[in-house]
């Protein structure tokens, strides 16, 4: 049979290995290698014993797989004063993370909603100032916030102490001097403040993209400020909440600076403890333990990202919400 020149009909045949495709996949492969290689080295090293590491074959897989470094990083490594590994820092970070994420997202979403749907006199100015805040390098604000937290503690002390007789009557411990600086609540406050500009912008733009008539319909139906927020806006905004959660979880979990400044050693977050392990100057450098500790610390944002990556992309690309 002779291959007749085909008349175009049906789907246009695609060339699999065109020049453009080879270029595209080649670049993608290179970029993935660039990012995956360090990860590979970390995983491999964390599974080797120290003698094997000293042999210096950085890229070779472990001859003898050992989980010893992981156990040590989690529960035995010394971080400054105490030697109970990263586990303490992990739970500290969890205790910082959960309230910080909830409070910052709660505050920012309500502000974004109010700024979009309940315009008040000066709301545009307020928003401009808030956005301006996103461009101020936060190092500038570190010391003023230290003072703010200290003074706020002094301010709250007499109010809290006025409740002491009642507490004593109940057999509970009375308040002494209230310290917000150096406390968990202080750090939650700081994370909320620094999350405000970007999160409010995020929520405001999202809510502004929802049809105005929905809001009007809900008002005619007799729903109030909170009724509309909880029953209409929030259920329609799942994607943007996911985006905000991912931003905040990664941001707050990875935070080092605020953790080290605004808390004290007992409640240092995991990142600070990781630093203390990796940068300790005593003894030999245990590369396998360091790698395991670093991987452990990075695990939470990684898991969050993999679990909700699809929703994240959808939220970022949102705007066209069809009824």
């Amino acid at each position: 049979m002779v291959d007749l020149p085909m008349e175009p009909s049906g789907p246009k045949p695609r060339v699999r290995l065109s020049r453009a495709n080879i270029m595209l996949y080649g670049i993608l492969l290179l970029v993935s290698l660039y990012y995956l290689l360090p990860l590979y080295v970390m995983v491999v090293t964390s599974l080797k014993g120290m003698p094997e590491i000293r042999m210096g074959h950085l890229f070779s897989p472990p001859m003898e797989v050992t989980f010893e470094p992981w156990v040590k990083a989690w529960s035995e490594a010394c971080t400054g004063i105490n030697c109970d590994g990263l586990s303490r820092g992990f739970w500290n970070s969890v205790r910082i993370l959960i309230p910080s994420v909830l409070v910052s997202i709660g505050v920012a979403s309500v502000s974004g909603y109010a700024l979009t749907n309940w315009r008040f006199k000066g709301s545009e100015t307020f928003f401009t100032i808030l956005i301006f805040g996103a461009f101020i390098p936060y190092q500038v604000m570190i010391y003023p916030i230290v003072i703010l937290l200290r003074e706020a503690g002094d301010l709250v002390t007499p109010i809290a102490q006025s409740a002491n007789p009642a507490l004593e009557l109940l057999g509970l411990e009375p308040f002494g001097k209230v310290r917000i600086m150096g406390s968990l609540s202080g750090l939650v406050f700081v994370h909320t403040i620094f999350g405000m500009p970007i999160l409010t912008l995020l929520f405001r733009n999202y809510f502004a993209s929802l049809p105005d008539e929905l809001f009007k319909a809900a008002r005619v139906d007799g729903a109030g400020f909170w009724g509309i927020y909880f029953r209409i806006m929030v259920p329609m905004s799942l994607p943007i909440f996911v985006v905000a959660i991912i931003l905040q979880v990664t941001g707050i979990w990875n935070d080092f600076l605020f953790g080290v400044i605004y808390t004290k050693p007992e409640i240092y977050p995991m990142t600070v403890q990781l630093n203390n392990i990796v940068n300790s100057v005593q003894g030999v450098k245990e590369y396998n333990v360091n790698m395991a500790a670093t991987l452990l610390t990075g695990l939470v944002p990684l898991i969050i990202y993999f679990a909700s990556g699809k929703l994240f992309v959808r939220g970022i690309a949102a705007g066209a919400v069809k009824g």
Binding site: P211, E213, L214, K216, A217, A218, R219, V220, D221, G222, A223, G227, R231, I232, P235, M236, V321, K322, G323
Partner: protein, 360 residues
């Protein structure tokens, strides 16, 4: 009895004056249509009545109560929006009952009302569905149902049919009219579509730049437009307008392009004075061929374009340098390039002052 009364209403957006000293009295059970070009302030007026916009001056009374400062939900109104504005995460049933739940109504009564509204609008099989699973027409029915369940005195519609395709629009228009006859509520209906306005309204308020130009029955607006804007706006295709001059004498006449139209048959609204003026004649009032024997004006014209539309035919003709639109019967034999005889009677013409543009 007056149902909605708007008194000296002003609304400004910053420095822009959108509604200017607007007065409107709407009777109980009346179907009032607000008609006007896009951007003339119809939606703004409706939002003011609903309480969704804070007005700048004036008063709004609904069912004899001054509701100028009342919340939207306290005004006894239900509103239907162009984009339907259904709550996407709730089922149809949830959408219908949302307003009632906010009133803390007993569950049994809510169910009863939802069932009744669903029956009237024939959406019973859809109650468990989400809005995304409904067609445009079904969504709009649900939106109407949301106003219906609340048992309000006044329904407000903001271009409810303009997102639907032509056939559905006609169907739902008839249904709306039936619904109005069945319920007898006051309805205020915003549209820019004159067919909707003419077919639905008891009275039409034609708006321009935030001012009501004419408030009358559809018939009156068609037959006696009060100014040139209304005359031009109502009617499709639009009225033919000629600029000319009124001459007074034994019998007054209108002179344009050298043709004198005797105005003996014209019903003047006010004493005749001479001067520049516009004369208007609707395309359907121009007579062709034999029919124009005895008409006040008769002339010849050249046909430029023929637009057959089945039920009737539109001719675009010109005569003495003047473009004209003529409507004639559906199966017309006239072709482009033909010379035709045409004319009209002064009794069916409209005259407007050239400066004030008011009807003469």
């Amino acid at each position: 009895m007056t149902s909605v009364s708007i008194r000296n209403l002003d609304l400004n957006f910053g420095a822009i004056n959108v509604l200017k000293n607007l007065n409107l009295e709407i009777e109980q059970g009346e179907f009032l249509v607000l008609l006007g070009a896009s951007g003339c302030g119809k939606s703004t007026l409706l939002n003011c009545i609903a309480g969704l916009l804070d007005i700048s001056a004036g008063q709004i009374h609904i069912s004899g109560r001054n509701v100028t400062w009342a919340e939207p939900s306290e005004r006894g109104i239900g509103m239907v929006f162009q984009s339907y504005a259904l709550y996407p995460q709730m089922t149809v049933e949830g959408n219908l009952s949302f307003g009632l739940k906010n009133q803390k109504m007993a569950r049994a009564e809510i169910q009863e009302r939802v069932a009744r509204a669903a029956k009237i609008l024939q959406i019973e099989p859809l109650l468990k569905r989400k809005p995304a699973a409904l067609s445009g027409g079904q969504r709009q029915r649900v939106a109407i149902g949301r106003a219906l369940v609340r048992d309000v005195d006044v329904f407000l519609f903001d271009e409810p049919l303009s997102n639907l395709d032509a056939k559905l629009r006609t169907d739902l228009r008839v249904e709306l009219k039936r619904l109005h006859q069945q319920l007898g509520n006051t309805m205020i209906y915003v549209t820019h579509d004159q067919v909707e306005a003419m077919t639905l309204a008891d009275r039409i308020a034609i708006m321009k730049d935030g001012i009501v130009q004419q408030l009358d029955s559809p018939e009156e607006i068609y037959l006696k437009p009060c100014n040139k804007y209304v005359a031009d706006f109502i009617g499709s295709p639009a009225m033919n307008l000629f600029k000319g001059e009124i001459v007074t004498g034994d019998t007054p006449g209108f002179v344009a392009n050298g043709i004198n139209t005797g105005l003996a048959g014209y019903g003047f609204e006010r004493p005749v004075t001479g001067g520049a003026a516009w004369m208007g004649i609707r395309p359907e009032h121009i007579l062709l061929g034999q029919a124009c024997e005895g008409a006040t004006v008769q002339t010849e014209a050249l046909v430029d374009i023929v637009e057959p539309m089945g039920s009737d035919t539109l001719l675009w003709v010109h005569s003495a340098g003047q473009q004209m639109r003529v409507r004639t019967e559906g199966q017309s034999k006239i072709k482009s390039g033909d010379r035709i005889k045409l004319g009209f009677n002064a009794a069916q013409a409209h005259l407007f002052d050239a400066t004030s543009e008011m009807r003469l």
